[in-house]
Symmetry: C2
């Protein structure tokens, strides 16, 4: 390759045979919705076995329970009791973040973990209420119904929102829309969680300074003006001593109110579908549902990676959805997979989802016999639980990592953080999602085009920027298009390619070199193309023709070849100008430039040759 004597044997790029439309539709639907091929185990099995496998697929506990051993149980028992001891105070604290009675926080650690243990595919995830979800509930539903003035209606609204969160989660899983969660990037989640943690910690200033009147807004400016606007109200003793003797000073000052004994009451009658606040419940449901999934699936995947097993995103969604639907009917509010509790579970040596069952059992005993004791839990303990959990969410190391690797990701993260801290939780969320989507659209609308040069003494062509050793080929401009071509970037690419051509012509003119004769487009990276992309190539071809140049294509993939063929563009360009490699395309151009034979000899692609 790379020298003219090779030229006699270019290999033709074949036009792939066209598949029936339905078959290609089926293939692409399968690739889109079932990339993990969940049905592979069902192939070639008898029907009864298929039924059992299907049941095991939807209820994973049936698959692993028969293999469960006593050794596993011992490990799970310790882990389960450990997380239960965390679940009770966390449940009470997060319920106060969500502005609901603390007992609902305890209820939420009983039913949902049982459901998850049956349906979930993670062995380490510890189910429970989550700080950010609780905060979102109080900030979104608190605007509709005041939790202090109308507590009963507020709680009903919380159950309804939880129900919708479950419905959305389960339907995402059933419809195999797992990729929705992928659109919340890691950067936005880090920024969003950090921002939420910051404002939750700021809210604790109220308790720390002993302020009675406090703003209902969550942004930094309101909180700070609320704090500094009433300096004369500060209880200096509590502020000064609070820093030193926080725990001992406030130990006996506040109690959390009455906690009644007994298991979860049914709450199906509390779900309100006819209220004027239904839309607010639906909106809150979809938002807390997606946030819960994003956190839960990310946590599940992280720990699955440590132990080398696989988490099925769609199955997880169904499990999360079912546990929230069941939860909303049994006086529980939103549950997901909090990172802190899962980490404790993992470190305590959990082996399977049985640790969730143990935790639920321990919480059940607490509910039946021990709740009156928690009446004496001091508020400051709750505050310290919240603050310490929140500090774990302030993942500044991840932010530094983002800054080092990808500045743009860092700014997305910072935007989400500032949106939450300076605006509100919803504003932060909207900023995070908008910026993530904008980034995708920018990626899509502005693909890169690269000028390739020859690496001396080889037939290899690589980016001139990346490999300073690469040399241009006289009279030939080689461009690589670095993304699928479709309507969103077709007109950008057309403009960018014509700019490359005139820039190259200008450069050649200024250094007095031979003028341009060929433009080679390397299409190795163009995995797919639509009609707008084909029109773009058509226009580029005409444009290049008009300048007296010739367009040459190198290494088009099968989809591009198929559509070039269907649109007859292949005949306009000429099949003999479509080459298997850039090296062969350059050889053909050089042959035409220096040997000047009008028609190149094209050898059939299947012919044997020794062109290595």
């Amino acid at each position: 390759m790379g020298t003219t004597e090779d030229y006699e044997c270019p290999r033709r790029v074949p036009v792939p045979p066209s598949k029936p439309f339905l078959k290609s539709l089926q293939t692409s639907l399968k690739e889109t919705f079932f990339p993990d091929d969940p049905f592979k185990q069902f192939k070639n099995q008898p029907t009864s076995w298929k039924f059992l496998l299907g049941l095991q697929y939807f209820v994973p506990i049936l698959e692993w329970a028969p293999r469960y051993t006593f050794d596993f149980f011992k490990a799970d028992l310790i882990a389960g009791i450990t997380i239960a001891s965390l679940a009770v105070p966390q449940g009470i604290s997060y319920a106060s973040l969500a502005s609901i009675p603390p007992i609902i926080g305890l209820y939420s650690s009983f039913v949902p973990p049982l459901i998850y243990a049956m349906l979930g595919s993670s062995r380490d995830l510890a189910v429970g209420t989550v700080a950010v979800g609780s905060l979102l509930i109080s900030s979104m539903l608190g605007k509709e119904v005041s939790p202090t003035e109308n507590p009963e209606q507020y709680v009903r609204l919380v159950f309804t929102a939880t129900f919708f969160a479950g419905v959305f989660q389960a339907s995402f899983g059933i419809l195999r829309l797992g990729f929705i969660v992928d659109f919340l990037s890691h950067a936005t989640i880090v920024g969003f969680m950090g921002g939420a943690a910051t404002i939750v910690c700021l809210q604790q200033l109220k308790g720390m300074l002993g302020l009675v009147h406090f703003t209902h807004e969550t942004d930094v400016v309101s909180v700070m003006s609320s704090v500094f606007g009433q300096i004369h109200q500060w209880r200096w003793e509590s502020a000064v001593l609070g820093c030193c003797f926080l725990f001992f000073l406030l130990l006996t000052r506040y109690f959390i109110g009455h906690l009644k004994k007994g298991l979860n009451p049914l709450s199906t009658s509390e779900l309100v579908f006819g209220s004027p606040h239904l839309m607010a419940a639906v909106k809150t449901g979809i938002i807390i549902g997606v946030i819960g999934l994003a956190e839960g699936i990310a946590v599940g995947r992280t720990f699955a990676m440590f132990k080398n097993y696989h988490i099925d995103g769609n199955k997880e969604m169904i499990a999360f959805g079912m546990m929230n639907i069941a939860g909303s009917c049994t006086s529980c509010y939103l549950t997901a997979g909090p990172f802190s509790r899962t980490a404790v579970n993992y470190n305590a040596g959990s082996r399977s989802a049985v640790s969730n069952i143990i935790m639920a059992t321990a919480v059940m005993f607490t509910l039946l016999f021990l709740t009156p004791l928690f009446h004496y839990t001091p508020l400051v303990v709750l505050s310290s639980i919240i603050v310490s959990a929140m500090l774990g969410l302030l993942d500044y190391e991840a932010a530094i990592h983002l800054w080092k690797i990808d500045k743009f990701d860092f700014f997305i993260c910072l935007g989400a953080y500032l949106g939450v801290v300076l605006g509100s939780v919803e504003i932060g969320l909207v900023i995070a999602i908008t910026v993530s989507l904008l980034r995708i659209l920018l990626f899509v609308a502005r693909p890169r085009t690269i000028v390739l040069g020859n690496i001396p003494n080889t037939g290899i062509y690589r980016s001139m920027d990346q490999y300073p050793i690469a040399k241009t080929v006289p009279g030939i401009l080689i461009l690589q298009i670095d993304a699928p071509v479709y309507f969103a970037n077709a007109s950008y690419l057309r403009e960018r390619i014509s700019r490359w051509i005139y820039e190259e012509e200008d450069r050649l003119k200024s250094v007095g070199e031979t003028s341009l004769h060929y433009v080679i487009l390397d299409l190795s990276a163009v995995g797919s193309i639509d009609t707008s992309g084909i029109s773009m190539f058509e226009e580029v071809g005409k444009n290049v023709d008009r300048k007296g140049l010739k367009l040459v294509l190198a290494n088009p993939q099968s989809e591009v070849m198929k559509k070039l063929h269907k649109s007859k563009l292949i005949d306009t360009i000429g099949q003999e100008w479509i080459h298997l490699t850039v090296g062969e395309a350059v050889a053909a151009c050089n042959f035409m430039l220096y040997t000047c034979k009008p028609d190149p000899v094209v050898v059939d692609y299947n012919a044997q040759d020794n062109n290595v």
Copy 2:
């Protein structure tokens, strides 16, 4: 390449030197917003010359007017008078589509063309009112204020919407957001325009059948039930004869109402910014603005291609915006670049935007002296003008072309069409935009991965699907990732790659071949990557390690290398396992497999070798 003796001389892939953050930001902003490099002509010019060039840039007429010749004028005069003869009846007809007084349609062919002639960059575009825009105005604003009951307020709202359309258009251009228009794909526009044409034609049944009561809905079901629900009301004579003697029968039946003489009155005081319908005006403004731009710029580009000159999308947006802002202040409603009128202009031999000036002058004379004559225009003439223009919009050939080349594009087109025909214009628009965006997100979320095989007797590796002649290399799985890797597709790719690996292992087991030892990822097509993408590679690496395999990378581009380096992943994988070509990676793997030396000799990349 491809044989083990080459192995001694692999070329290293260099880690590019890191650029200062601000410089790379500047480069990427320039690529994003100024892909056409509009400032290239300003480089190295004296200040006064820069000022003149800048003025010429924003007011293109200053650039071409000095070179304008009498020959050009003769051609433009003929073209201008031709399109004026089309502009007058079209203006009246489309005004009736927008439910506004016909005279406003005439006004709209006077001021806006003059503005466009100064600011626009197309030489062929004929400015005028557009059918779809008119229809959108009456269907969106007619819901707010009834054009029959409260005509004055309705007209004020139309002017305000036109004003906002202009403001949005101009600001898109100034902010260089030209790519917004690119997100309306050709397929959606074909479907949407076809649907709009269909319902406009259906509306003409009212006049054809002489029905007095008629539905205000636009969908097929309502119109048909309105038509067939009052069969006894059909004027059979008009229906039957209408088919044969349409023109003669109805010639003298209806007149279009009073048309007063005189040029456009000022309408600045008619713009209502304080009304309760302001939001409707803003919403209508942005929609008709974007639709107008999408049609106008597409038309401009099509004709520019015939004559081999360039249309600057952002400049066009500013021109369209200015002409609509000026129009809204001088009693004009939305104007854009209708295809039909532009085609007539082009065929009549127009040479420059002067034909628009001629048309405006002709319309001015009409307004001053001839308007009373148009009082006698029969309604059926208007109907026939509308129907004939609409039939041109029913681009069934384009739909067939879409079906042939890309079935998915065809279904997008069909969806937009059915949305308009069965729902309403807005529903069709929402469907078209949603489906287009979904298609982008799908493209982005589900990139293709391809298994590569060796083309016998060469060092070339290509898709096994596309080239049936390609052979797998024993013990090595070669995968090509076909798109930029980032958060939206990272977890899909992780799952898909692990599925490829276990499928290959299964296949090897079933045929009893040597087991898998190496996984080579060909990254030629991965133009960019973000932190989620880097984490994905990290996880794939760990996953592959755990299975006792080795991950090898081939041809990573500079951005990938930079980020692999920054994240230290390059050390985890091992620099010696990153190769310049797939061929060299395979050679290295084969060398390790069959020669079993633990450490490969790595020769410096710059060393001379004859490895061709």
